[in-house]
C-alpha cells in the first residue's frame, strides 16, 4: 500500500508541479510558478467544450456498456447450458488483442465500403453508406466494445451472489418479471453496477487510441489534447494542467456518484 502510494503519488506530484511551470518552447523553463496553463484551458470556450465532450462521452459509453452488459452477465450467472465456458472466454476475447489491431477490425467492418455498409446496401436497407468512422457513433462503438468485458465481469459476481430463491419468491407472490428485476435483482446487484460503471467511466475518459483512430476532428477529447501536448507541441505544463483538470473533475464525479448511491435505499456505500 505504502509502496504503491510512493510510486503513484510521487509521479502525480511531479505532474502537479509541472502544471504550474511556465514554458517557453525550446528553452529550459524559467524559474517561478504560474497559473497560466490553467487559465489557458479554463478561459477558452473551445477547451471547456472538449471537457464537456469528454465527460459526455464517458457517461454515454458507461450507461450503454452497463445496460448492454447486464443481460450478458445475467445469462452467464444464471444460464445452465453447455458451452458456457466458451462464452466466458468470448467475453474477454476483445481484450486479448491489441487495441490497434481491434481498430483495424472495426475499419474493415465500419468503413463506407465496409462489410456492414455493403451488407445493408445489398439488403436494400439503406440507399447510401452510413458514416460510422470519424463520427460520434464510431467512437462510441469502439469504446463500448472495449468497455463491455469490464462491465460484464464486474456484474457476473454480484448477480451470482443474489439467491435465485429470492427472485422466485417474488414471482410466486405475483410480481411480474420487470417488477422482480427492479425490486429484487437490480438493488441487490447495485454494488457491482457501481464498481463496474466507475471502472468503465475511468477507462473511457482516459482512452486515447480509439478516439484517435476512429474519431475525427469533430470529436476532440482531453486525452487527444494531452497526447498532442506531451509528444508534439512539448508544452508539458499545459498537458499536465489538462490531465490535472481531468483528474479533479472525474474524482469529483466519483464522489458525487458515491454519495448518490449511498442515498439509495438499502445500499451501502461501495468501498
Amino acid at each position: 500500500m505504502l509502496l504503491l502510494g510512493v510510486y503513484f503519488l510521487l509521479p502525480l506530484a511531479l505532474l502537479l508541479a509541472q502544471s504550474f511551470r511556465p514554458l517557453v518552447i525550446g528553452q529550459p523553463a524559467p524559474p517561478g510558478l504560474t497559473l497560466a496553463n490553467y487559465v489557458r484551458f479554463l478561459g477558452d470556450p473551445f477547451y471547456l467544450g472538449t471537457l464537456r465532450a469528454t465527460l459526455g462521452l464517458g457517461i454515454f459509453v458507461t450507461v450503454l456498456a452497463m445496460t448492454v452488459g447486464y443481460p450478458v452477465a445475467y445469462g452467464l450467472a444464471r444460464g445452465r447450458h453447455r458451452g458456457k465456458a466458451l462464452l466466458r472466454l468470448c467475453v474477454v476475447a476483445p481484450l486479448l488483442v491489441s487495441v490497434v489491431i481491434r481498430t483495424y477490425g472495426w475499419i474493415v467492418l465500419l468503413a463506407n465500403n465496409g462489410v456492414v455498409n455493403q451488407t445493408l446496401l445489398a439488403l436494400g436497407l439503406i440507399g447510401e453508406p452510413v458514416r460510422f468512422m470519424f463520427t460520434y457513433t464510431g467512437v462510441t462503438i469502439g469504446l463500448v466494445h472495449f468497455a463491455l468485458p469490464v462491465a460484464i465481469l464486474s456484474l457476473v459476481g454480484v448477480i451470482e451472489a443474489v439467491d435465485p430463491a429470492l427472485e422466485e419468491a417474488a414471482r410466486s407472490l405475483g410480481a411480474g418479471p420487470g417488477r422482480t428485476f427492479l425490486r429484487i435483482t437490480l438493488p441487490l446487484t447495485l454494488p457491482g453496477l457501481a464498481a463496474g460503471s466507475m471502472l468503465v467511466f475511468a477507462l473511457t475518459v482516459a482512452a486515447f487510441v480509439t478516439p484517435a483512430l476512429m474519431g475525427g476532428p469533430s470529436l476532440i477529447v482531453l486525452s487527444t489534447l494531452i497526447y498532442q501536448q506531451m509528444t508534439v507541441t512539448l508544452e508539458w505544463g499545459f498537458g499536465a494542467a489538462v490531465a490535472t483538470i481531468l483528474l479533479v473533475v472525474a474524482t469529483g464525479l466519483f464522489l458525487l456518484y458515491q454519495r448518490l448511491l449511498s442515498l439509495a435505499p438499502g445500499v451501502e456505500q461501495p468501498g
Binding site: G26, F46, S218, I220, Q228, V232
Partner: protein, 349 residues
C-alpha cells in the same frame, strides 16, 4: 524446450539490464516494421561484422515519442544513437539534449549535400529526405492527376484522406497549402484557409501511415498526400496506386541521426552514424525503402527514376521548409488546426 530457452534468455536480459553496458555495444533507436527489418539487414549486420561490435535495436516509438522519452529521461541514459525527424532533432538540440556531431567524429559528413551536413547547430546529419507526394487510386482517378488542386476537386468529395497537423503528413500538407496560397511557413494563414476549404472533400482523418492501407485497399478513399518512400512500398505490394510529385512542386521532410548527451558509448555511436552515411549503405537503403539518400556519391540505375529523387538535380527541385521555424510554430498550429477544423466541420453541418 524452446520456451525454457526463451525464458532463460529473458532472465539473462533482465539481469543484464542492471549490469554495466558492454564496451563495444550501442543501443540504436529506430522504427519498427519494414524499416526495422531492413535496417537490421542492410546496416546493422554489416556494421557488426565490420567493427566487431554489437548494436541493440530499439524499435519503440515514433520520432515524437522518442523525443518525449528522451526529454523525460533528461541526463539518464536511454540509448546511444537515434533516428529523428528533422524538426524533432532540432527541438531536442535546442533543449540541450543532443551532442554536436562534427566531421572529426563522422568523416563522411563532407560527402553529404551541403544542406544535409548539419541539422541546426550541428546536432546531427540529415541522413535521408522524403518528399510529400500525391498518392492516388489508378483505377478511380483518371486522368492521372498532376496538380495538388485535384485534392480540392469537388468530384472527389469524401474521397481524400489527410492527417492532423500534429503528424508529419498533415504538417507538410499545411505547408503545401500555404505555398499554393502564395505564402510559406512564415505566412501560414493562406494555408489554413485552404485546409478549411478542403474539409468537405476529406473522407478519412488518419494518423499512422499504415492506417492508410486499408482505406485505399477498400477504396474508401482515392487520394491522399503521403510520403514518397512508403507510397512506393505500397505500390510494390501490389496495390493499384500511383504516386506523383505534382507540377507545383513539393516539400520534403528530413530524417536525421543524433547522439544524445546521455549516450554511454559515443565513440561507437559516431562510427555507426558514419557507417550509415557510407555510399553502399545509403544506396542499399534507397533501393529498398525509396528514401532519397543525402550522400552525393550515390547513384541509382535508371529504373529508379520517378520512384526515388536521387542526384543533385532531382533534390534541387525539392523544397525544404525552415525546420527551425516548424519546431517553434508547430505548437500554435496544432491548437489552430484543432479549432479551425472543428469550426469548419460544424459549419459544414
Amino acid at each position: 524446450m524452446r520456451t525454457v530457452r526463451v525464458l532463460a534468455a529473458l532472465a539473462l536480459a533482465m539481469a543484464a539490464g542492471s549490469a554495466a553496458a558492454q564496451p563495444r555495444e550501442i543501443v540504436f533507436s529506430g522504427y519498427g516494421g519494414d524499416y526495422g527489418e531492413l535496417m537490421k539487414k542492410l546496416v546493422i549486420e554489416p556494421f557488426e561484422k565490420r567493427l566487431n561490435a554489437k548494436v541493440v535495436y530499439d524499435a519503440t516509438g515514433s520520432s515524437a515519442q522518442k523525443l518525449a522519452k528522451l526529454r523525460a529521461s533528461r541526463d539518464a541514459y536511454i540509448y546511444d544513437v537515434t533516428v529523428f525527424t528533422g524538426y524533432d532533432l532540432l527541438a531536442a538540440g535546442r533543449e540541450g539534449l543532443m551532442e554536436p556531431i562534427a566531421p572529426t567524429q563522422v568523416p563522411n559528413l563532407p560527402r553529404l549535400y551541403d544542406f544535409a551536413q548539419r541539422e541546426g547547430q550541428g546536432w546531427g546529419p540529415i541522413t535521408s529526405v522524403d518528399p510529400l507526394i500525391l498518392l492516388y487510386n489508378r483505377d478511380r482517378v483518371k486522368p492521372a492527376p498532376d496538380s495538388w488542386a485535384v485534392l480540392w476537386d469537388p468530384r472527389y468529395k469524401g474521397k481524400v484522406a489527410i492527417s492532423h497537423v500534429s503528424e508529419g503528413k498533415g504538417l507538410y500538407l499545411l505547408l503545401v497549402a500555404a505555398y499554393m496560397a502564395g505564402g510559406d511557413e512564415k505566412r501560414i494563414d493562406g494555408g489554413f484557409a485552404k485546409i478549411r476549404e478542403l474539409v468537405p472533400n476529406v473522407g478519412a482523418w488518419l494518423t499512422l501511415s499504415p492506417q492508410y492501407v486499408p482505406y485505399f485497399q477498400r477504396e474508401d478513399v482515392w487520394l491522399a498526400p503521403y510520403w514518397s518512400g512508403r507510397a512506393q512500398l505500397m505500390i510494390d505490394q501490389g496495390l493499384p496506386l500511383g504516386a506523383v510529385i505534382p507540377k507545383e512542386g513539393t516539400l520534403a521532410i528530413s530524417n536525421a541521426f543524433g547522439v544524445p548527451k546521455s549516450a554511454r558509448n559515443k565513440a561507437l555511436a559516431y562510427e555507426f552514424v558514419n557507417f550509415y552515411l557510407d555510399a553502399p549503405q545509403q544506396e542499399a537503403w534507397a533501393r529498398k525503402i525509396y528514401y532519397t539518400p543525402t550522400n552525393r556519391e550515390v547513384t541509382l540505375p535508371p529504373e529508379y527514376a520517378g520512384r526515388v529523387a536521387v542526384g543533385a538535380e532531382a533534390i534541387g527541385r525539392l523544397r525544404f521548409p525552415d525546420e527551425d521555424h516548424l519546431a517553434r510554430a508547430r505548437g500554435a498550429w496544432v491548437e489552430r488546426w484543432n479549432k479551425e477544423i472543428y469550426d469548419a466541420l460544424k459549419y459544414q453541418k
